[in-house]
Symmetry: C2
Subunit: 366 residues, 2 copies
């Protein structure tokens, strides 16, 4: 598999949905496989909340494989021998693309809290500029899970003739009140860390890592299913020799402490806030009198909508709601409910049914 | 309704399940109605996680009614014209009974983080001492919701001949891995507040109110149901004039901010930690080879087990598990699943079915 990592500079100013402007921006990208001569075999992979451009392959020795390495590669579900896969870190993120930790040309300091609000539509606009840069006129498929699935849906709405298929996995056309509430708790935890400094922690030489850690611990619970946690940890007590903290009793506490701490080392707090706000505000039907059927009518792409039975964060009702609206809108759409052991996170992992469904969808006639 | 508030001092040292000792303790109590001459009409009401002794009535003008005022009173479900109801704040709490904010006779300072670990069994032991003090030999009923229901269950196990009926509402014989995980996140948030000072915030003249607030915001989400939140708040935007914080977009965010802030003014952080730890560790079957059937065999009380359909924190499977074990143990037990609009919190509110079930159970022959 041919893997190319590249940071691409876009010099033109970008006006965001909020009305604010970025004076140019960079996208950190990874591509897998080869673009054919007709440029007709391109697949765009959109990352979820805390994902990034590193979707497949192993970049350096001992490094982690990409977050969707189980599904992307030579002979795999999204076959790099047939398709050219494009992955990127979205703007507002913290893994190489322009985001709150980037230097603002205006102030010559990190954007920090001053980084403008971004939306799923803004990401699709930057991805369209990336497609233009790569001279890809039309994606064979845009695919993503969770927040990534929202981008796939938005692509189908924003650019009906630039995308043949959209695979919308473990996603929603708008998140629930409970999800907004959980995101608000995470933001509250981060913002009240004494090292947050109203988002300007970088200029203070600090990071709100305690807040980030606790926010991720909460997030992690919502990404897994209750049954998966029960099976893995049950009520097993933690070995005292490997306790992260003296007050810990149970294995699950130690696991969350560890996961939270690891995450806090690699993620930016302002990005966390921006990404959750983008998730909260996603609601494409808003511009169509809150009528999702009307909103989907212009879609020309085929849709595959997939939900996982153990996902309680984005339960199957969300997928079924998009599907019913798509059917009512008279567009070409299919729906599957998959067994997934890992709750919401199931979209990250290979299973035979999942793989067959995605592969057959991708290989079908557009 | 005759309401009596009283703080009762117990001079004898109390050895806790952990092996630690309290050199005497106080219980803040409220009673409703009159104890009859035979002392045979007493009902013990056990409070849930953040509840207290003030279960019914209005103490002062403009003050809040008790947390179960809808069900306790003259002519109400638990009828104070027939029954003498005893309510108390549990030790380790922060509403008048001995807890982390009380002065330790040893150090002459607040116990703070030095307050010993408490358990549901410890609470039952102190409640037994309270019964002795009141010369109540046998409760007509012990009743509680959530963590209160665990106390009712423990009473039936610990004192088979001192309790005629136990009403175990929205409770569990042990909480799930996910619940432990959520409690650990709440503890993490509180403990990492810079004002926590390893639990000795009182001696620093501070309170970790930011941590308490965020922990409660999280808790509040788990007490409600997704459908209730959707119905109440949906995706409605908050009126800018009444925003608790400039970054707030949605009504549900503002609501949680408000609720969290109110809670942080009245609750103690060490109590929060102690109470969640007591909830985590409750598992009476542990002492019976993890066999709940064996654990319940000695029970002589009649049981009423009730779950609410919208409760996702303590879902009906928990209630059904106690019920199945009770049936296998050959004890007198009945189960109902109630419609509840408010998720886990449904146990706090009156409904006709709920009231009839509880009233008929209480009035039945013991």
């Amino acid at each position: 598999m041919n893997v190319v990592s590249k940071k691409i500079l876009f010099n033109e100013p970008l006006t965001l949905g909020s009305g604010e402007m970025l004076p140019g921006f960079e996208l950190m990208t990874e591509t897998y496989g080869e673009l054919n001569q007709e440029k007709s075999n391109a697949v765009l992979v959109c990352h979820a909340f805390s994902g990034n451009h590193h979707a497949a392959g192993i970049k350096e020795e001992n490094a982690k494989p990409g977050w969707w390495d189980e599904l992307i590669g030579d002979g795999k579900t999204i076959d790099t021998e047939k398709y050219f896969i494009v992955s990127l870190n979205n703007i507002g993120g913290c893994h190489g693309s322009t985001g709150p930790t980037s230097i603002s040309p205006k102030t010559e300091q990190a954007f920090g809290a001053g980084f403008p609000e971004v939306s799923v539509s803004d990401w699709v606009e930057t991805q369209k500029l990336l497609a233009d840069h790569l001279e890809i006129d039309c994606w064979e498929m845009v695919v993503g899970g969770s927040l990534g699935g929202m981008q796939a849906l938005q692509w189908a709405i924003s650019y009906p003739d630039k995308i043949k298929k959209a695979a919308i996995i473990a996603a929603s056309s708008k998140i629930s009140t409970q999800n907004i509430a959980l995101n608000e708790v995470a933001r509250e935890i981060i913002k009240k860390d004494e090292c947050f400094h109203n988002g300007d922690y970088l200029s203070h030489g600090e990071t709100p890592s305690k807040g980030l850690k606790a926010a991720r611990m909460l997030g992690h619970i919502t990404y897994l299913s209750e049954s998966n946690m029960s099976k893995r940890f049950g009520r097993k007590l933690q070995d005292p020799l490997t306790k992260m903290d003296a007050d810990i009793n149970y294995e699950v506490e130690n696991y969350l402490q560890y996961k939270g701490e690891q995450f806090a080392k690699t993620f930016d707090a302002n990005s966390y806030i921006l990404m959750t706000k983008a998730m909260d505000s996603f609601d494409p039907a808003k511009n169509f009198d809150h009528d999702l059927v009307k909103c989907l009518k212009s879609i020309q792409a085929k849709l595959l909508i997939a939900s996982f039975d153990s996902d309680w964060l984005f339960p199957k009702e969300y997928g079924l709601d998009i599907q019913m609206s798509a059917i009512k809108a008279g567009i070409d759409s299919t729906y599957i409910e998959l067994n997934g052991e890992y709750g919401h996170d199931s979209f990250l992992f290979y299973s035979n049914d999942y793989s067959v469904a995605l592969k057959n969808f991708l290989n079908s006639n557009g």
